[in-house]
Symmetry: C2
Subunit: 336 residues, 2 copies
Amino acid sequence: MMKKFLNAPEAFVDEMLQGILAAHPTELKSVANDLRCIVRADAPVAGKVGLATGGGSGHLPLFLGYVGKGMLDGCAVGGVFQSPSAEQMLEVTKAIDSGQGVLQIYGNYSGDIINFDMAAEMAEMEDIRVESYVAGEDVASAPPEEKSKRRGVAGIFYVYKCAGAKADEGADLDEVKRVAEKAGANVRTMGVALSPVIVPEVGKPSFTIGEGEMEIGMGIHGEPGIRRGELLTADEVVQEMMDKILPDLPYQRGDEVSVLMNGLGSTPKEELYVAYRKVAEILDEQGISVYRVYCGEFATSLEMTGFSISVLKLDEELKALLSKSAVTPFFEQVGS
Amino acid sequence: MMKKFLNAPEAFVDEMLQGILAAHPTELKSVANDLRCIVRADAPVAGKVGLATGGGSGHLPLFLGYVGKGMLDGCAVGGVFQSPSAEQMLEVTKAIDSGQGVLQIYGNYSGDIINFDMAAEMAEMEDIRVESYVAGEDVASAPPEEKSKRRGVAGIFYVYKCAGAKADEGADLDEVKRVAEKAGANVRTMGVALSPVIVPEVGKPSFTIGEGEMEIGMGIHGEPGIRRGELLTADEVVQEMMDKILPDLPYQRGDEVSVLMNGLGSTPKEELYVAYRKVAEILDEQGISVYRVYCGEFATSLEMTGFSISVLKLDEELKALLSKSAVTPFFEQVGS
């Protein structure tokens, strides 16, 4: 049965947003009289390219959680696992444009693409220049020869971080888009899940994973993975994931990378670090050095048990951008 | 059955620590050839009072996760839900003392008290001045007239943050202890749980909570709470918790507070914010203003479903200390 802290299930998303706005009133605000159109409290930021995102609820800190200084300017919020509307994306776009144009960064899901494209067209009719970057880096979701079909998952964090830092420096829209594309092109992700999730309005699991089973490559909405099988040891699971991730770019001896160990909801940080121990061992064996490790919950699927590994290949530019300060209600990093 | 990402269950704590040290080599190191004695990589910090903590594993970010700039200097790490040894605490104490003395800050559990007291005696024999602050702020764990019996839970975060910031300013041991006591005296916490946890070496739940039931006031090791009953709505649960927390200090009209919404492991951030919406409403009704909200996982119990609310009454000194910068592998805050 469903054991969640809820009031009316149909009020879940709006009550969550009311809670977020109540908790962070100096950092975030809603616009257009719509709770689901959230922007930085100081938007539009004069002279800065605006960064917009959006997507379904149920993935916090994704997507809304990265709206803040050094990262994004606004987010359109959908129902649980549902795309926000084109109108909501348009309102966010209008609210964050300071005249420098807006870059939309979002995941490769058909509903989001349709609605973001429509929002971009409507914004251009209002003389706002809009560019888009569609993130898709889940190596389990399509083979290398069909990269454009890949789902966007936790690796979008790196796109937000690098593009956000570039926009914060005062770069123009083309430059910010170039950095988003570069970060996106250099990141790969793969996930594994041990349990399904319950969407509050549905009230029961939308799929199942058997006792003692795991699904390698499952998506953050429960999309099928590469294979289902018996639960392996942490080291075996990590080896299987890294064997898919590393050859894909490929990452090579001498590369420097950042690693994001992302909990999908219910997996304790202790287990993420047990898994990272093996990631570090594999990277070391392959002569790949690690500059910075993020470990925690960055892109979740409600209470799913599981985790994903994202690897970002760095160059001097991405490394410098990754190291800059960021302050959002869900993510803070002291710059170095 | 147990569905966790593990290798050998008995290696869980050491492999986790190896993963943490591999992920954060410039920030943390182990001392005394013991993985379970972890200190800042730059310890001892010249001229600064050392802050030590320790406790059982299974609560990340607690305890180890707060070792870093602006917070703690070292941590002795026990097995899952087990106290570290006096010898381990002594080694941490020796490694972080710069000659300014060490303040031990830990939770009110008998094993930790016995071992920390013994470590303090041994350290004093080596001419290290040691003071202690034992945190205990769980209002569900003992009535107001037996405050000294209360368990320490998520509110210890505030003690670390304020005392750590004070030590960072160069304050002496007595001053840092005064701030720890002040923060601890002004914080109250209460939790609620919906599910038990599985200790890896045990392999099955050590207690149960029935389908459709919740336990109000449960401790972070599964200690019994105030009452068990049917799962209420989020608003009803929060009302019951705040009705215990607010009269206890008491918090009064005109007070300014910080609120910590702490997920115990499996509860999505979305639900924490649904709960915070009601916390904000109650505080507003009572004329208590909120300065800063922390919402996430600060003190967990492996994969327990549940959350706790901590409220810290602020004065100008605590507010200033709370606002300072901190950088640990598990917690970053850009100072303001």
